[in-house]
């Protein structure tokens, strides 16, 4: 079961030939081995054409062997797990892998959209801006849909991802990105010193370029040295090696982002396991040993399948024992590229020719050419003859002007190496140009970060080991570890010689950014049209804006821009680098927080009882609150809510109001403190009494309200609205700690300590008498309106009882320690049974507060003053309080302010809607005649019609006036009467009764 694998070498490589794997590409069954990537397995099976390009639908193959790949993007997996734009070069092969090519229709080999190539002149840089400007309405109807169909990458799954993702924190002294020679050396030095080390490697095997290029370290073959180093690191308890993990970003204060592909190498994650995990790594120091990326040379036909980076070709041959071509031509401008010719000869492949842009070639390489029987051509590749079946012939412009041709089925290209400067540049550090290697190297790295090895422009193996070791030792030392770091591993440095070459002029499309189909002539066009700055170049041409973020294209693009604009490369500069270094799934950022876990949920103490009662719940912030309790036969919510309101108004009902914020305010200065945070006085409140309080912001606008009771001389119990509970706590702590530190006051949240129920209705006292110890006096004299004190309950429990009313009825609120909350709900049902007790939800609560004219969230909306709410008289004139001075400003006391008023439609059958605008009769609706709006509405069972509260200009002076409620959103316009906001029991007799 190994299939054909015609391009697989008989031996060698780091693949496990004892574990063959089958996989499908575009439905065809193929075979590979464990240790393959999808790309290496495709190459082993002779597949050259892997996808179609973004804009022109040109046939594309595999360019690289790493995460910088622009072309070989596939849809991996199927159904709900389908993942578009997956790089075949990093996708690990697994049994049964399914992959499909992208951006082609109906098939990869015959793609209708490749006619786009014929229209290429209109798809030049900026074509969106130029071509589709007129007529404007055509944009949405015609142009955009057509472009969306024609251009693009893979298809999203379109359904919810069935896999789990999570997030985790890790902490260490030194985090290292990359496990090539520099990364391993850094880990050894740091680990030996005693530092806590995290070594991140995006590959599934450690070793970096050593896996492809080998070498001799400490006299050992590279593979043996790696094994020795890894064994030593694994034996260190404080060294953590994380493979399949890319360090993708650096954030302030030494926090690093990493994505671990925990189970991407399996068809489906094992049960209970996650697909990917997002790591936030907190590290004192970071060593970037992320290596370098070999860069292409831009020439006509450079995107033909079979044109490949020289180093990638070595990876496929040496690491995967897969041969991308049989007769290889090499186009290089540097010494390193020649290693591909060496590899080819050593493997028994044919080298058709080496085209070297430099004037001279080393004697050793001349000798190699002699042994291998291939010519060395001084010049450049100027064109490629080939297509979807790969490279056939290569045109060469020889130095001196002559032309030549080379027959080959693969072309390896090396334009030199670009250090991976991403991580070091993410805090706006600009990399600096080094002429000797014609590349940008890190500069201005974030605090605590250092680059080493190829990532720092040190390309020799010996230099990588040295820089890595020194950086690892320094990082550990800076983090406070000084153990014996032992000796450094040594190796020779290879010769380095390079003549910069970015672009070979010629006929035909020469691609700079292969993923976004940006050509050299697009860059030249951008320059001619004035988009010379690299940031403009990027946005105008979309160079470097694809999923690969231009890893193989940015530097070439700006080099071409530099050439045509007559500037040097460092003068032209780079665009700003931003994380993430590789694409990171949104699912990984969300982690556990999706669906029902989108946010934490708070449950009231009586929640499970309410579930048993069949309550309908509503999300209120994080809370689940019982909204109403439907009964059999009720046709809709309104019927249930109306029943609940009537039951309360005629008998007794109760509601869990534990969601209110509750704060213990302690200390000798508690009263003085509350005087400063509320507009009304609390130091004068008697022990055993409650008072409604209103808080302002310092700018004079109402912040929050609630009832606060004095339980002891130095102990107040303050309540807030449900919505503002956390914010009021924060505000009070600010007042305590920052504004009034001289006051002796202590604050504690007791929101979760108490289960609190509102019991309301004329039969409230009857119910309470059942449940409260008979010794407690609940009469109006013994427990007057706004009384607050501890009482004993039957069965021995202590409770707090507050005689306060939000409904306008005779009412109490009762608190018990929260673990008795469920028992309290059950006992209220038992105690209230003779009186027809009815549990009610937040809707009935809302109806009754509107009937009673109490303001709530829609009126405390961040624009209203105490006076707007009809509570201006509460403002004390005898003390300073937060918001006092600003509340007196002219605009906040202007006579034409919009104030709370009652509103009811003149047609009793008409439904009032919140949001409707108030317009005077006879005026045209519009901003100039807009006098306010309806804030809260309900169907009032008492009045048997819809009523509401609104904020209306001079509203209280206009009681009885008929105005228009204009509601363009719903297309409604009707007459309403402005009325007293207290619709129910205006003199308050019922709640005092």
């Amino acid at each position: 079961m190994r299939g054909d694998q015609a391009n697989r070498l008989n031996d060698g490589g780091l693949i496990d030939r004892s574990t063959p794997l089958n996989f499908r590409f575009d439905g065809k069954i193929l075979f590979g081995f464990k240790g393959d990537t999808l790309a290496s397995a495709l190459i082993a099976n002779g597949v050259k054409l892997v996808g179609r390009s973004f804009k022109y639908h040109r046939p594309r193959g595999i360019l690289t062997a790493g995460s910088e790949e622009p072309n070989a993007l596939v849809e991996l997996r199927s159904g709900a797990r389908r993942e578009p734009n997956t790089k075949a070069t990093t996708a690990e092969l697994y049994e049964g892998l399914e992959a499909a090519s992208q951006n082609r229709w109906p098939s990869l080999k015959f793609d209708v959209m490749s006619v786009n190539q014929l229209f290429a002149p209109i798809f030049v840089a900026g074509f969106y801006y130029k071509t589709f400007m007129w007529p404007a309405k055509f944009w949405e109807a015609i142009y955009e849909p057509a472009i969306r169909r024609a251009a693009g990458l893979g298809r999203a799954a379109g359904v919810s991802d069935p896999d789990h993702y999570d997030k985790a924190w890790a902490h260490c002294d030194v985090v290292i990105a990359g496990s090539g020679p520099a990364g391993l050396a850094a880990a050894l030095a740091a680990g030996r010193s005693g530092a806590r080390v995290i070594l991140c490697e995006e590959d599934f095997v450690l070793g970096g370029r050593l896996l492809a290029d080998g070498g001799t370290i400490d006299g050992l073959p590279a593979a043996e040295w790696i094994a020795r180093a890894v064994a030593e690191l694994e034996a260190m308890p404080d060294v953590r090696i994380m493979t399949r993990t890319t360090l993708f970003g650096v954030y302030d204060g030494g926090t690093y982002g990493a994505i671990e592909r925990v189970n991407d190498h399996l068809p489906v994650p094992p049960k209970h396991q996650v697909r990917q995990r997002l790591w936030r790594i907190v590290a004192k120091r970071c060593v970037v040993a992320a290596g370098a990326i070999e860069r292409p040379i831009v020439f006509a036909g450079n995107d033909t399948p079979g044109v490949m980076m020289a180093s990638a070709m070595r990876s496929y041959i040496n690491r995967y024992a897969a041969t991308p071509a049989r007769r290889i031509a090499l186009f290089t401008n540097n010494e390193d590229g020649w290693r591909t010719a060496e590899t080819a000869i050593a493997t028994g492949l044919q080298v058709a020719a080496v085209i070297d842009a430099r004037p001279d070639v080393s004697p050793a390489h001349r000798a190699l050419a002699g042994r291998g029987g291939f010519p060395v051509l001084h010049g450049s590749v100027s064109g490629v003859d080939g297509g979807k079946n790969g490279v056939r012939k290569i045109s060469v412009s020889l130095t001196g002007g002559a032309r030549g041709e080379v027959e080959a089925d693969g072309l390896a290209v090396s334009g030199g190496w670009n250090p991976a400067v991403g991580l070091t540049s993410y805090h706006r550090g600009r990399p600096k140009w080094r002429d000797d290697i014609a590349a940008f190297v890190p500069d201005g790295a974030p605090p605590g970060m250092a680059a080493a090895g190829a990532a720092n422009g040190a390309f020799g193996l010996g230099a990588c080991l040295r820089e890595g070791f020194e950086a690892g030792a320094a990082a550990a030392r800076d983090a406070g570890h000084s153990g014996n770091i032992g000796s450094m591993s040594v190796a020779d440095d290879e010769a380095f010689s390079l003549t910069p070459l970015w672009h070979v002029a010629g006929k035909g499309k020469a691609f700079v950014d292969q993923q976004h189909d940006v050509t050299a002539s697009d860059v030249e066009l951008a320059q001619r049209e004035g988009f010379e700055s690299v940031e403009h170049l990027k946005r105008y041409t979309t160079l470097g804006m694809a999923t690969d973020q231009g890893k193989t294209s940015n530097i070439a693009g700006l080099a071409i821009m530099a050439a045509v604009s007559g500037k040097s490369i460092p003068e032209t500069g780079t665009t700003i680098y931003r994380p993430p270094y590789v694409p990171v799934a949104i699912g990984a950022f969300a982690g556990h927080h999706r669906d029902e876990n989108f946010h934490a949920t708070r449950l009231t103490p009586s929640h499970h009882w309410a579930v048993e009662q069949g309550a309908v719940f509503v999300d209120t912030g994080l809370w689940k609150r019982a909204q109403w309790y439907p009964r059999a036969g009720e046709k809709d919510w309104l019927e249930s809510v109306t029943r609940e309101v009537k039951a309360v108004r005629s008998g007794v009902g109760f509601c869990d109001v534990s969601t209110l914020g509750k704060i213990d305010v302690h200390g000798p200065d508690a009263g003085a403190f509350l005087d400063r945070v509320y507009i009304n006085a609390f130091s004068s409140l008697a022990v055993g009494k409650a008072r409604y309080g209103l808080m302002l912001r310092e700018d004079g606008i109402v912040y929050d309200d609630g009832t606060t009771s004095r339980l002891a001389e130095d102990h107040y119990f303050l309540t807030t609205t449900t919505a503002k509970a956390g914010l009021v706590m924060q505000h009070l702590e600010f007042c305590r700690q920052v504004l009034f530190p001289e006051l002796d006051v202590q604050l504690t949240s007791v929101s979760d300590q108490w289960a609190q129920f509102s019991i309301a209705g004329p039969k409230t006292r009857d119910l309470l008498k059942e449940i409260v110890d008979p010794a407690e006096d609940l009469s109006s004299e013994g427990f007057p309106f706004m009384g607050a004190r501890e009482v004993a309950l039957r069965g021995g429990l202590k409770a707090r009882l507050f005689r306060i009313s939000f409904s306008g009825e005779m009412a109490f609120e009762i608190s018990v320690p929260a673990r008795y909350g469920e028992a309290m709900a059950r006992n209220l049902m038992i105690a209230g049974k003779p009186f027809g007790v009815t549990p009610y939800g937040t809707e009935a609560l809302g109806v009754m507060r509107i009937e009673k004219g109490h303001v709530a969230g829609p009126e405390l909306n961040g624009t209203t003053t105490a006076a707007d709410l009809g509570l201006g008289k509460m403002m004390s004139t005898k003390k300073d309080f937060i918001g006092r001075v600003m509340a007196a400003r002219e605009a906040l006391v202007a006579p034409n302010r919009q104030v709370v008023v009652g509103i009811k439609p003149t047609d009793k059958a008409r439904r009032l809607r919140s949001g409707a605008h108030i317009i005077p009769k006879g005026e045209t609706p519009g901003p100039e005649n807009d006098q306010g709006y309806v804030t809260s509405v309900c169907f009032s069972p008492v009045l048997d019609q819809w009523i509401g509260l609104g904020l209306v200009e001079r509203g209280r002076e206009r009681i009885g006036e008929i105005v228009r409620a204009h509601d363009p959103l719903r297309g409604e316009d009707y007459d309403v009467e402005l009325c007293n906001s207290v619709f129910y029991d205006p003199d308050g007799g019922r709640q005092r009764g």
Partner: protein
């Protein structure tokens, strides 16, 4: 007219299903809810930190924590909860708010938190790996040793986390107090985080 029965119910009563959960095999994470405890927040009054500390020493025989630590006494655990404040965790009313009232009279304000929190004890081979998904605190043994404490957040929810005495088998134990109304939600998040390691779930009336 019969007296009412006042059943006490933990906020995790429904969420907690004793037994194994998640991956099969030896459980990497052990979760135990500790029920029925007294918890009192003690906050020094202005300028009275010294007096409060003296009162605490007299009551508990050890100094109360002035830095993020949890200090075990014969019959209570004193857990730092912020500047000039700590929590007293105990059983059977020995150090309930009523019992402590006179101890700290004039030096500190007390607030009963016995019902405001749920107490979850986490241990096992994979306790740290699981907690790393919820907590941004470094729990490495060199950094967060026995008796270390933190007022911190998990899943955007305030928690008090401390390392108790190691289990008999040497495994570290992490105790965590979470606000009661958040407890079921955090519990589910913990189970999700722990499932891959295998979990054993239980509850206990005993403070560790």
């Amino acid at each position: 007219m019969a007296d009412f029965s006042w059943d006490i119910r933990s906020p995790l009563d429904r969420a907690l299903v004793a037994g194994p959960y998640g991956a099969q095999g030896e459980a990497g994470v052990s979760l135990t809810e500790i029920r029925d405890f007294d918890l009192v927040q003690v906050m020094a009054r202005r300028g009275k930190a010294g007096e409060m500390m003296k009162a605490a020493t007299a009551r508990f025989g050890v100094a109360a924590p002035e830095t993020p630590k949890a200090i075990g006494t014969a019959d209570a655990t004193l857990i730092w909860s912020g500047p000039d404040q700590f929590l007293v965790l105990s059983k059977d009313g020995k150090h309930s708010i009523e019992a402590l009232d006179s101890v700290f009279a004039g030096s500190a304000s007390l607030s009963d938190q016995s019902h405001a929190r749920a107490l979850i004890s986490v241990s096992g081979d994979k306790a740290r790996a699981m907690l790393a998904k919820l907590s941004s605190i470094d729990l490495h043994p060199d950094v967060f040793g026995v008796g270390a404490a933190a007022a911190t957040s998990m899943d955007h929810t305030s928690v008090t986390l401390w390392r108790g005495q190691d289990r008999a088998d040497g495994q570290a134990v992490f105790d965590l107090l979470v606000f009661a109304t958040f407890a079921a939600s955090l519990w589910h998040t913990i189970l999700d985080a722990a499932a891959e390691y295998g979990v054993t779930i239980g509850h206990s009336e005993d403070l560790a």
